[in-house]
Homo-oligomer: 231 residues x 2
């Protein structure tokens, strides 16, 4: 699993608040977040299969986790199950979506229209989950102006105006390592505070900016380690 590594967003820190009284938001562990997305996916599947109810055991199997941790995760959101019965599929999905901030529309700008950027802009899994790709940018003259799906590739020189015009609130960096920090800084300057980077470099961002990293070479290297060791 990719390791999260943003500096501990240390704010006042409240001990987990009352289940029902909203002391606004409770902080969910990173590991829980990753699993919640799997539960959502599993719930979707169940829903399309016409199932209206499920149990922690079934849902856990579908999600590839154990029932214990699933119940623990869900209990962090509140008590939405019925003892002796289970969970209502649609209801639970709704609660998870809400807790994860997925019932609003997110506007994503993809910076870097190389192979990876184009792949991401065409990925169906995004739109179906509330993420709209609103811009695709690149620095290469021969790419700028070309169309990818329904998008026209814009010039990274116009980054600021594009981000403003599209009201993007998430940026994806799919650019070479050497260009990443500079573009990252610009994006942050423009007020975007959530960044997903595929660049194989360590990026510095100010406090309050959320950065996640996906590192493809790292994934293969970890695989190689296991491959050489297991049996």
């Amino acid at each position: 699993m990719p390791t999260p590594q943003h500096p501990p967003a240390d704010d006042g820190v409240e001990p987990p608040a009352h289940p029902t009284t909203g002391s606004l938001e409770r902080i969910l562990p990173e590991a829980t977040l990753a699993r919640l997305t799997q539960y959502l996916r599993a719930l979707n599947t169940l829903q399309t299969q016409g199932q209206t109810r499920t149990s922690s055991g079934l849902l856990a199997t579908e999600s590839g986790v154990n029932p214990s941790i699933l119940r623990k995760d869900l209990s962090l959101l509140g008590s939405y199950g019925t003892r002796g019965v289970g969970y209502v599929v649609t209801e639970l999905a709704e609660h998870i979506s809400k807790a994860m901030g997925l019932n609003q529309q997110w506007r994503v700008a993809i910076i870097g229209a190389g192979n990876l950027g184009r792949a991401l802009s065409g990925y169906g899994g995004f739109r179906s989950r509330g993420f709209e790709i609103v811009a695709l940018l690149d620095a290469a003259p021969d790419v700028i102006g070309s169309t990818v799906g329904e998008l026209t590739v814009a010039d990274t020189k116009d980054l600021a105006s594009v981000l403003e015009a599209t009201a993007a609130n998430i940026a994806v960096l799919s650019v070479p390592g050497a260009a990443a920090q500079g573009l990252c800084d610009k994006v942050v300057e423009c007020g975007v505070r959530s960044i997903l980077s595929f660049a194989p470099v360590v990026l510095q961002v100010p406090d309050g900016v959320n950065l996640r990293k996906v590192d493809l070479a790292t994934e293969l290297q970890i695989l190689a380690y296991h491959a050489q060791n297991i049996v």
Copy 2:
């Protein structure tokens, strides 16, 4: 089927396991593995800058971690530093590479030649780290036979023979969710025991097969959670 896979850890000089435990395999924690790849990258950078020595402090900064955990990680591999001085860049890089199984050539087959598959096959970060893309396969007739870089897209119907002919020992699944489990099974049948999947589904693999997952939609969803919570 009988396919040559894991090149036996021939390479006689197994670094003697931990002095205390006679156990052959010093198992490195997953979190450590992820960081080791970052150290490697940082060491590469230092090397190209002409630095021959480094310290845990410097290397930690370059890798985006704190010095304490870096020293702890390295101590799991053995003692390769000099107290009061630091580490020799090339030497340390060599030790890490070896511990991670990166000084052998890994042969990667990419299954799914859609946008993502093509992006992966062209990603420079792989080859430079000992991963050679030896095959690219797809099921779509209009894609089969086309060339991507130096590769010709093969038919997934011929998966078994292609994997055997290329002696692939790592498979990357960049196919739609619906096709993933079937292809995964086939790959495992062919003797490949290391799989990196980008498919947004839970895959079942037998014991002894190493599966890693990268889930792009999950990454954005986690980002969305933080975006809605951090003011």
